[in-house]
């Protein structure tokens, strides 16, 4: 345990990194399938099955990353888990109801009598919308330090809209990759319509975060940190430019480059997330509790870490296997 120095230092750091990684994976993976749910009302009736089919084999495992992320918060930083979730009591409730509606209607729309299908399609959209909005809202509240004042709520409402549009963008990017023909062309249109949400969201967070606390401001705007950090905004701008250029030219012959919008969107999410992680470190509850103060006993963290070292590669391995088995364009979902 002492190989890497004081376990009360490197263990919380490792777990913060693991938790951050699973939140990022969750945001990208469930982001695209929530986004596909958000796009449902825009699709023609006969395209809706294909939309759902494109996420069918994946959504369940994607959502598990949320359970892992909140689980790591719970097990590694118990006091922070309590503080954050009681402060976000109502948005958490909205998100949970949304996730329930979504997951259930996913099954019901295919199994209930055909007359109910419209209703379950509606519930699928409503659930996706509730989950996306509440996640964006929680993001905004977290940035504002989890205090319920009018300006903070206003900002959170803004990030709620931005993240929702951002999710619909990555959902559209996923559909560009996984569909073809008329549906793919529509997805390209949706992506063009949704990219502003991502850009505005990243801009709003980047502008607001440094002004919430002097500490974060100093972390960004001092020399030589500014130099080291400059790739973040430059790369982000380059990716946005690339997306803009690609989207106006897609689709190419033989479906070349169809995967690039999704990859670029993933890159954008990752960069924005990296910037946020840099701002908030070492705090897990903004400006109140650091990861070192909130961490569980080193013995308990160590026993989890041991398991993680064996299990995480396996999880990543069979996740990749699943995406490999269901590679290529989405086909109708069939049990046989």
């Amino acid at each position: 345990m002492d190989y890497f120095g004081d376990p009360a230092v490197w263990l919380p750091w490792t777990f913060a990194a693991l938790m951050g990684l699973s939140i990022l994976i969750y945001v990208v993976l469930d982001g695209f399938d929530l986004g596909v749910g958000l796009l449902m009302p825009l699709a023609e009736e006969d395209q809706k099955d294909r939309l759902v089919a494109s996420i069918g084999p994946f959504w369940d495992a994607n959502e598990t990353w949320l359970v892992l992320a909140v689980g790591l918060l719970l097990v590694a930083f118990p006091p922070a888990h309590g503080v954050i979730l009681t402060a976000l009591y109502l948005p958490v409730f909205v998100m949970l109801i949304g996730l329930i509606l979504r997951g259930v209607s996913f099954e019901m729309r295919a199994k209930a009598p055909i007359a109910q299908k419209r209703m379950w399609n509606g519930a699928f959209f409503a659930g996706s919308l509730m989950a996306s909005l509440s996640q964006g809202f929680m993001l905004g509240m977290y940035i504002m330090g989890l205090t319920w004042t009018l300006p903070h709520v206003g900002f959170a409402l803004l990030t709620a809209v931005f993240l929702t549009v951002g999710y619909s963008f990555i959902g559209a990017a996923w559909l560009i990759w996984k569909t073809e023909g008329a549906l793919q062309e529509r997805a390209i249109g949706w992506a063009k319509g949704g990219i502003w949400g991502l850009v505005a969201g990243i801009a709003a967070i980047s502008l607001a975060t440094p002004f919430v606390s002097v500490r974060i401001f100093d972390k960004w705007f001092s020399w030589p940190e500014m130099l080291y950090l400059s790739p973040l905004p430059i790369l982000s701008a380059a990716l946005v430019g690339f997306l803009w250029w690609k989207l106006s030219r897609l689709p190419f012959r033989d479906d070349q480059w169809a995967w690039t919008p999704f990859a670029a969107a993933t890159g954008l999410f990752t960069l924005a997330y990296g910037g946020m992680a840099y701002s908030f470190y070492p705090y897990v509850v903004p400006e109140k509790i650091t990861i070192y103060e909130a961490a569980s006993a080193p013995e308990s963290l160590f026993i989890i870490l041991l398991g993680t070292l064996f299990v995480l590669p396996a999880i990543l391995g069979y996740t990749v296997l699943s995406y490999y088995i269901f590679r290529g364009k989405a086909t109708a979902l069939r049990y046989d």
Partner: protein, 462 residues
């Protein structure tokens, strides 16, 4: 009502709704694997037809279980922050292992199990089915370990008011874990056995005489009949274990107020906590002593032992524990009678010519496993009160300080959603049964047993 009581009701409502679906998927996963293996061994299409029908129920139940389970992981924080702050060092790793060894395994291979049959080799599909069933069982194991530890904690020390683990072996293999795990696995098996028997009986009443329905009915009845005696035995052992570690709970289950020998087995009564006695009691003399101590003069603990000098009540509320225990045992007895009668009738008439009366009876018992499982959990969980972790952390010390109105509002929201979903769930299962009875084909392609999967032309809208 205050935040504590409302939070308890809310958590109770959420976990009650959640447990319904794992109770089905834990055992149904293994039943599906059985159907799959029987098909591989015999090549008879009835096994694949049964698989195709029940895999839909599995997919639906699994989705309901996943989404209602996410609720649980958040509610630890939103409603019970004290739980993780005090015992997080023990509960945390156990929950983490559940997520890592079970949730991902289930969720990833579920996709392959459901939608991958035409994309992978048959043995990979069978393996995926196995891994999903294995994953659900692992999940049961870890969560039962944590729950059992909350009833019979050991292997820890308390430093500055916070629990620290000293021996993981003692924590995992705590005294009540094996009993609870076996009891829950058997409960899941029985729930699924009666669900399969009940829905198959329903299809037969609607006129379905397909080979797959007869086979499923047979599998359901025989599984139920063989598991129920084991469950009664396991329940008895579990009760003796509880008597040793949580005597107050057993006293409430038996409705026994005063410690002493020759305690009767109370079949029915209305426990009156004010007067501290039972009203309208119907009892078998010496029954409780015989069951719990295996002799008529055996001393059985009474509730009055768990009231402190200054009148503070340290035992759970009697009525809910007392009644839910009787509901569970009552359903268990009904299961025993019906399933054994069912086996006898299977031998006499065969699955295809069962008289209507037993078919109706099986129909009525379709979801009896749910009621028994819930009643059992209420017995053991309410029976642990006022403790959250027996002797370590009381429930009132773990609750959050969220305003009661907020808890009440969200509680109503959850209840409405859950009520709608339960109706929709049962509705869809009967609809699937109705559709299958009408003879709509499950599959339009010949299903290969071995070798390469052949991909048939896809039909839209399925």
């Amino acid at each position: 009502m205050d935040t504590l009581l409302l939070s308890r009701i809310q958590f109770g409502a959420n976990i009650s709704f959640h447990i319904l679906f794992p109770t089905i998927t834990i055992a149904l996963g293994w039943v599906l694997l059985f159907f799959r293996l029987r098909f591989t061994a015999t090549g008879e299409s009835k096994w694949m037809d049964a698989y195709m029908f029940w895999v839909k129920v599995f997919a639906l139940s699994f989705a309901m279980g996943v989404v209602s389970g996410i609720t649980m992981s958040f509610q630890f924080g939103t409603n019970w922050p004290g739980f993780m702050e005090i015992v997080g060092n023990v509960a945390g790793p156990l929950l983490a292992y559940e997520v890592m060894t079970a949730f991902f395994l289930e969720a990833v291979f579920l996709g392959i199990m459901l939608f991958g049959a035409s994309r992978v080799k048959p043995w990979v599909h069978t393996l995926a089915t196995f891994l999903v069933a294995f994953g659900t069982t692992m999940s049961t194991f870890w969560i039962i370990v944590l729950n059992s530890w909350m009833h019979t904690p050991q292997g820890y020390e308390i430093i500055d008011g916070v629990v620290h683990a000293t021996s993981w072996w003692e924590i995992v293999f705590n005294p009540s874990m094996p009993y609870r795990f076996i009891h829950m696995m058997l409960a899941s098996g029985l729930t699924v056995a009666f669900l399969i028997a009940g829905i198959s009986a329903l299809r037969m009443l609607w006129g379905d005489r397909g080979e797959d329905v007869k086979t499923a009915l047979r599998v359901g009845i025989i599984t139920g009949a063989s598991l129920i005696p084991l469950q009664i035995l396991a329940g008895d052992f579990h009760g003796l274990n509880t008597l040793e570690y949580q005597p107050a709970k057993v006293a409430a289950m038996e409705g026994n107020w005063d410690t002493g020998p020759n305690i009767p087995l109370v079949l029915f009564a209305i426990p009156d906590e004010e007067a501290r006695e039972n009203r309208f009691e119907i009892a078998i003399p010496n029954g409780a002593s015989l069951i719990l101590k295996h002799k008529a003069s055996g001393v059985v603990p009474g509730l009055n032992d768990f009231v402190s000098e200054d009148g503070e009540v340290l035992h759970p509320r009697v009525a809910p524990v007392f009644y839910s225990f009787r509901v569970m045992v009552g359903i268990g007895m009904a299961m025993l009678l019906l399933s054994w009668a069912g086996v006898w009738m299977l031998r006499r008439y065969g699955a295809g010519h069962m008289p209507t009366l037993p078919l109706y009876a099986f129909c009525a018992m379709s979801f009896s496993g749910w009621i028994a499982t819930l009643a059992g959990w209420y017995t053991t969980e309410i029976g642990r009160q006022p403790w959250l972790v027996q002797g370590v952390l009381s429930t009132k010390d773990a609750v959050s300080d969220v305003p009661a109105g907020m808890v009440l509002g969200t509680l109503i929201g959850y209840l409405v959603v859950y009520a709608v979903l339960i109706v929709a769930y049962i509705g869809v299962i009967t609809y699937l049964a109705r559709k299958a009875t009408r003879g709509e084909p499950y599959s339009t392609r010949g299903y290969p047993r071995r070798g390469e999967a052949n991909v048939a032309a896809l039909q839209p809208g399925e």
